[in-house]
Each structure stands twice: as structure tokens, then as C-alpha cells.
């Protein structure tokens, strides 16, 4: 409530962040895993009789890789910053202030990554073989360190562990309970994605079948073990999840949106099953690499994008109702009332810096409360739309729902007075063309 509201009709701000982040996940993990593939392929090609031809593919790979990661990676990465600071300013501020040193180190890594990649790519005809190998390895190490750092910050959001608002212990925040399982999971997934990306490039080097077979089998060796290891590491990560998230995924919630809310479970299933689909598809490619062309290779990369979508949504939904687990709710309100500018029972809009001063009985009060307290997750008539969820609302039911919604464990408690609840309920009911008569 300390920030202006970013109002996105139909989609909602959160979904915008999700869409950008899902694409960025794919690109950024290809960027790190592809570095490993470059380095290993550099060494591998030296020992092969047709090393020169393998390096032709490698050069093509590096071209695509450079464009894909530095253009899409940079656009979506900056896009995330734009979107999260608008959708979740309070959480963004907390992450920036808590991890100042980590962010600084992260940007050094990005700079290093880009520099080394350009040196590698543009030095192709000039550098010695030893230098190229060194640059490829250096690129991978730096890129992986950037993943190491961002992983500390992102895993913190789900499992802050021993960190509290009082101790502000960066070490415990960074090496939180989810850190190592997620780090390994991400490392394995980036190998998988690099293999899929390598296969895609290999199908474009269609000139001769022997080389294609060799390259696709080389890339499949990156995908298959990773696809087998990923579910095991995901299970390890699962064991570190907060109890509330596990309960949500296993049990669902009765009473929301006219049925069981097992969106967490569904997205978890999507991630796991899509991983199995990748495994089957890669086997088919490796069985007969000569037959592989661009369409199947691209198809598998798209399946990976769907798996990432499942994984990302799973993580976001499992963290409900928090954006930083146990600390900050998804709607930018603090769990500890002491941190909150408006106490749970104080008139809500009085403390909202950007809301206009409205008379107590004004219907616009309800709308402003919606914007500040609900719109982080809900839209009026689009994604997680209010209209669909409040068809049966009466003023009395609405007020009661608002008072008890936090007991469902997927929504935060309402902040404000009884009048605030009434104003919000009346506004919601007015959306349906009915009048919100005072209960």
C-alpha cells in the first residue's frame, strides 16, 4: 500500500510476471547449460577424427546460442525486473535490500558472462584452440556462478529458513533449506535444456547423416541422464518445502472457485509428466538420428517450455498466500502486524499512501481496497476473476468470507475495519449489477 497500483485488466500483474519468467527460465538455463556443452564439445571435438566438422556445428551452435541467450535472455531478464517492481514492489524492495551484495556479485557475473562469450565467439578464427577451450570453460564457470547466486535469492522466497526480519542474516537467507536441492535441480535441468538446444541446432546441420547422427547422440547424452535425475532432485526439494505447501499440493482446498483448488497439484503433475515426455521423445530421436529434422527437435524444446511452466506455477502456487514465505503476503502486506502500516483492524485506506481521500460511505472505497489488497492476485473478470468467484455473494456472506478467507491457507487475512469489509463486499456485489445493501 506504499506504492501506486499497477492495474492490468484480464491478465493481472502476476500473470505478466509469470509469462516473462517462464520464457526467461528456458533461456537462462540454456545459457548456463549451453556453456557446459560448449566446453565439453570443445574438448570432445579435439579427440575426434572429424573434429573440424564437429566444430562447424559448434560454431553454428555458438551463433544461435549467442543470439538466443543475449537477446532473449537480456530482454526477458530486464522484463522481469520491470514487471516485478510494478507487481510486487514491497517484495522487490525486500529482496534488493536483503541481498545487496549478492545482486552486485550477480551483475559482475552477467558482465563477465557477456564479455567472455563475445571473446569466444568473435575470436573463433583468431584465438588458439587452447584459448577457445579456456574461454568456453570460463564462460560456463561464470554463468553457473550467476545461477548459484540467483538460486540463493529465489530459493529464499520459498524457504527463508533461519532468516528473520530481526536478524536479517544474509548467510542463513542465502543458504536456506531449499538452496542445495534447487541448485542441483537447476544444474541438471540446464544440462537437459542445453542438450535439447544442441539437438535443434544439429538438425539444421543437415548436410550429412553421419555427422548428424553423431551430434544428436552426443546431445541426447545430456538430456537422458538429466531427465532421469531431475525427478529425484525435485523430490529432495519437495522434502524441504514448508508443511503448508505440501499440504496444499496433496490435499487441495475445498470451497474456493466452486470445487477443489488443486492447481498446485496439477502444475506439479504437468512438470513431471512433461519430463517423461521429453525422455520418450529424446529416445526416439537418439534411436534414429538420421530421421530427425527440425520439427521434432523444436517440439521437444517446446515440451521443455511446458515443463518449466508447470514447475514455475507449482512453485508460485505452493508458496501461497505468501510471496516470501511466512513474511510477506502476495498482496504486499506483512505477516507481522508491526511491519504493516495499517493494523489489522485500523481503517485500511487511511494508511494507503496512493489512495485518494474518500468519504466513509463512498462506493469507491471498496474499489480502492480491491486494488490495493486483492489485485495482486485477482482481476475483475479475467485471470482468477472476482466475478466468477462471487456469483453467489450476498452482503452478509461477502463480509463473512472476507473475515475468514485466511483460514483456507491460500489467501491472506483481510486488513481493515468492519466498514472496510462492508465497502469491499458492496463493491463486489455491485459488479454483478446488484446493490450492496447493508447487511
Amino acid at each position: 500500500m506504499n506504492y501506486p497500483v499497477w492495474n492490468v485488466d484480464i491478465l493481472g500483474g502476476g500473470l505478466i510476471v509469470a509469462i516473462i519468467a517462464i520464457v526467461h527460465m528456458l533461456v537462462s538455463h540454456v545459457a548456463v547449460g549451453g556453456g557446459a556443452l560448449l566446453a565439453v564439445a570443445e574438448v570432445w571435438s579435439d579427440g575426434q577424427p572429424d573434429g573440424a566438422r564437429i566444430r562447424t556445428w559448434l560454431r553454428r551452435f555458438a551463433t544461435w546460442f549467442l543470439v538466443f541467450t543475449t537477446v532473449f535472455g537480456a530482454i526477458t531478464g530486464v522484463g522481469i525486473w520491470f514487471a516485478i517492481q510494478l507487481a510486487s514492489p514491497e517484495a522487490t524492495s525486500l529482496l534488493i535490500h536483503q541481498f545487496v551484495f549478492a545482486w552486485a556479485a550477480e551483475w559482475v557475473m552477467f558482465l563477465g558472462e557477456l564479455t567472455v562469450l563475445y571473446l569466444y565467439f568473435y575470436g573463433w578464427d583468431v584465438n588458439s584452440r587452447a584459448m577457445q577451450r579456456f574461454l568456453a570453460v570460463a564462460y560456463f564457470v561464470i554463468a553457473w556462478l550467476s545461477l548459484f547466486i540467483i538460486n540463493g535469492i529465489l530459493s529464499f522466497m520459498m524457504t527463508p529458513g533461519g532468516w528473520t526480519l530481526e536478524n536479517r542474516d544474509i548467510f542463513r537467507a542465502f543458504f536456506n533449506p531449499g538452496f542445495f536441492p534447487l541448485l542441483l535441480l537447476r544444474t541438471v535441468v540446464m544440462f537437459l535444456l542445453a542438450g535439447l538446444f544442441g539437438m535443434l541446432v544439429a538438425t539444421r546441420v543437415a548436410a550429412d547423416d553421419d555427422l548428424k547422427e553423431k551430434l544428436i547422440r552426443f546431445c541426447a547424452k545430456w538430456v537422458i541422464p538429466a531427465a532421469v535425475a531431475a525427478p529425484l532432485l525435485a523430490f529432495w526439494y519437495w522434502t524441504t518445502l514448508p508443511g503448508s505447501a505440501v499440504a496444499l499440493a496433496l490435499g487441495g482446498v475445498t470451497g474456493v472457485a466452486g470445487g477443489r483448488l488443486e492447481v498446485v497439484t496439477r502444475y506439479g503433475l504437468l512438470a513431471g509428466l512433461a519430463g517423461a515426455l521429453i525422455l520418450v521423445g529424446t529416445f526416439a530421436m537418439a534411436l534414429r538420428p538420421r530421421a530427425a529434422n527440425t520439427a521434432p527437435a523444436l517440439a521437444l524444446l517446446l515440451v521443455a517450455q511446458l515443463a518449466i511452466m508447470g514447475g514455475e506455477f507449482f512453485r508460485e502456487m505452493a508458496r501461497k498466500p505468501y510471496v516470501i514465505h511466512g513474511v510477506l503476503y502476495s498482496n504486499q502486506l506483512w505477516k507481522e502486524p508491526g511491519k504493516a502500516p495499517a493494523r489489522l483492524d485500523a481503517p485500511y485506506l487511511d494508511a494507503a499512501r496512493w489512495a485518494p481521500r474518500l468519504p466513509a460511505q463512498s462506493p469507491a472505497r471498496g474499489e480502492w481496497i480491491y486494488r490495493l489488497q486483492c489485485a495482486s492476485c485477482h482481476t475483475i473478470d479475467g485471470y482468477r476473476g472476482l466475478m466468477k468467484r462471487t456469483v453467489a455473494w450476498t452482503p452478509a456472506f461477502g463480509v463473512r468470507w472476507l473475515s475468514t478467507m485466511d483460514t483456507l491457507k491460500v489467501m491472506p487475512p483481510f486488513e481493515g475495519t468492519a466498514q472496510d469489509r462492508e465497502a469491499l463486499a458492496a463493491w463486489v456485489i455491485s459488479l454483478h449489477g446488484r446493490t450492496g445493501v447493508k447487511p
Partner: protein, 345 residues
């Protein structure tokens, strides 16, 4: 080991037969994947359909579906997959039909491949129509009632067919029994049988070659063997299709409206599913006694699709063939326009 198996299961000739079929490689080869994709949807439908049958009770249709959605582990997910896969199958078959049409793969001697394909599309639409009623919620109930009432207006056979489908003068629980048997016994057996015929014909005739490809000198024609090259390269695409179904089921689960109340007034805005919107909207253009004319027009459209291979027979395409393609293009435009209109109005 393989020698042991091969002597017990002498499938060699079968594999040779499949390997003999060659898939032409050209600009439009991508369309050849659509038949396989339809089969993937069929497999998903059979798998999820069997799972849904475990808990579905035709005597308590709505309550048992509610139980599937609310209580049965993964029930809601399986049901959503069944729903999305059904919709995508219908969409995929329409695209398959039109791509076959514009590549002129129906010309002699493949007339019966085309006709069995058309029948399969019709059966799949009947599959969708019968399955749509089974949850017995107010949407499915009233949409089905409207659909059968339209059918009833057809001359000669209308009343008889409508009564046969409903099991009486109105849609009741008896209709559920009929639609259920249709959906899980009659149609699956018919469709599977016809799929076997369709696929055997495709294998026997080999792939049809579009005119532009057929005109190439032999040394410039490129093919890939159907088995195993084409088949294996299709598998990743099948995985993507399956992934899309899973993603849709995760992101947009199928809801369940309140239980149907046959005595209540139909809720506002009842409309058929998208694949029936075009005929629905067309009939609206012919009010009252003109309705027969509208039905006649639609019957003529279906009939003309069936007789196309007997009209357009000449390779390479002559003037008549080009005319047929133009009429087909008008047909696809009309179908899309009427569907969009029906959806928006």
C-alpha cells in the same frame, strides 16, 4: 533373443510392408503428421475414458461426476485431459480433412480413404455430442435438448431419430443410458474398426503426392521410409501434443455446472460446443418454415464433401479441379465465419 521372438512372431513381412511406404518430402510434408496426431488424441481418449468409466455411474450421472471432480484422486485432472483432448481431436481432424482436401489426396484410387476419413470425423463429432451430455449439468442438458430438438425438425427421419436418441419425447435419465452405451460401446467399436480400415487403406495406397511434387524429375524427389524414419520423427511431436493437452488441463480445468433440472427454464446463453456452432448459426439464419431449406443446404454441403473424389479425378489438376479447390476454400471460410459469428453472437 530376437531370433527366438521373430520365429514365434513372424512379423518380418509386416515390417517390410510398413517400410515400403515412402513419405514424400516437400514444402507441405508437415500436414502428414495430422493423422498420427489424431491417433494420439484417440489413445488419450481411450486411456482417460477407461479411467473415468471406473467411477462414472449412468444412474447418478451428475453426482458421480461431482465425485470424480471432488473426491477421486486426480479425477478432476483426468477429466480435464479427456475434455481437452476431445476438443483438440475434433480440431485436429478438421485440419486433417482440409489439408487432405487441398493436397487433393482424395483423387482415385483413394476415394475410400477419403470417405472413411469423413465418416470418422462424423463419428468423432457424435462422440463429442454424446459425451457432452454425460455429466448431466445444466449446460450439457440444455445444449443437448436444443441439439436434438433441431434434429427432430429434419424431414422423414427427424422424429424417429430424435425419439431413438432420447428414449422418449424429452431428454431424461433414459437418454443418459442411451448416450452412455453409444459413447463407451457403440462408437468406440465403430471408430476403432473404421480406423483400422482407414489406416490399412493409407498403408496399401501409400502417400498421395501433390501435383507439384509428382511433376518433379525422379532424381529430385526425396522420400523417407515410413518405418522407422517417419514414425520415429513423429514421436517427439506426439509428445508435444500430449504436453499441450496436459498443460491445458492444468491451466484451464473443466468445470462442472449445477445439476440439470429438466423442469427449470434454460439458463441464458446456452450454446452448443464450438464444433457445432456453424450449423447452429446457419439454422438461425433460416427461421420458421425456411428451416428446412437451411437443413437442406447443410446436408448438401456434407454430401458434396463426400462426392468430391468422384467429381475431381484428373491428375494433374485441371480446370474442374481448381474449381473444386476454390469451392473448398469458400467452404472453409464459411465454416470459420459461421463458427466465429455463432461464438460472438
Amino acid at each position: 533373443m530376437s531370433r527366438f521372438l521373430l520365429s514365434r512372431f513372424p512379423v518380418g513381412p509386416l515390417i517390410d510392408f510398413m517400410a515400403k511406404k515412402k513419405v514424400p518430402e516437400h514444402r507441405c510434408s508437415g500436414w502428414y503428421t495430422l493423422g498420427g496426431i489424431a491417433l494420439v488424441f484417440l489413445a488419450i481418449q481411450i486411456f482417460t475414458g477407461i479411467l473415468l468409466m471406473v467411477y462414472y455411474r449412468p444412474s447418478q450421472p451428475w453426482a458421480s461426476v461431482q465425485r470424480i471432480v471432488v473426491e477421486v484422486p486426480f479425477g478432476a485432472f483426468i477429466r480435464s485431459i479427456h475434455h481437452w483432448s476431445a476438443n483438440l481431436m475434433a480440431l485436429g481432424l478438421f485440419v486433417h480433412m482440409f489439408s487432405t482436401f487441398f493436397m487433393k489426396a482424395y483423387r482415385p484410387t483413394r476415394e475410400f480413404t477419403w470417405l472413411t476419413g469423413l465418416c470418422l470425423l462424423g463419428l468423432v463429432l457424435l462422440f463429442s455430442f454424446s459425451g457432452y451430455l454425460l455429466p448431466w449439468d445444466e449446460l450439457s442438458f440444455f445444449a443437448t435438448r436444443v441439439g436434438i430438438t433441431e434434429l427432430e425438425k429434419a424431414p422423414l427421419v427427424g422424429t424417429w431419430t430424435a425419439t431413438l436418441l432420447r428414449g422418449g419425447p424429452d431428454v431424461t435419465i433414459d437418454t443418459i443410458g442411451r448416450f452412455y452405451v453409444l459413447h463407451v460401446v457403440v462408437l468406440p467399436l465403430t471408430v476403432l474398426g473404421l480406423v483400422v480400415v482407414h489406416l490399412t487403406l493409407v498403408q496399401l495406397h501409400g502417400m498421395s503426392e501433390p501435383d507439384s511434387f509428382a511433376a518433379l524429375p525422379p532424381e529430385r524427389k526425396r522420400y523417407r521410409p515410413f518405418f522407422t524414419d517417419f514414425l520415429l520423427a513423429e514421436i517427439p511431436i506426439w509428445m508435444l501434443v500430449t504436453g499441450v493437452v496436459l498443460a491445458l488441463a492444468a491451466a484451464v480445468p473443466r468445470g462442472l455446472a449445477p445439476e440439470a433440472d429438466p423442469t427449470a427454464a434454460a439458463p441464458a446463453g446456452i450454446k452448443p460446443e464450438w464444433y457445432f456452432l456453424a450449423p447452429y448459426q446457419t439454422l438461425k439464419l433460416f427461421p420458421g418454415r425456411l428451416e428446412l431449406l437451411g437443413m437442406g443446404l447443410m446436408a448438401a454441403a456434407v454430401l458434396s464433401a463426400a462426392v468430391v473424389p468422384f467429381i475431381d479425378r484428373v491428375v494433374p489438376t485441371d480446370r474442374r479441379g481448381r474449381m473444386v479447390a476454390l469451392i473448398g476454400a469458400a467452404g472453409i471460410a464459411g465454416l470459420a465465419a459461421m463458427t466465429a459469428w455463432g461464438g460472438l453472437s
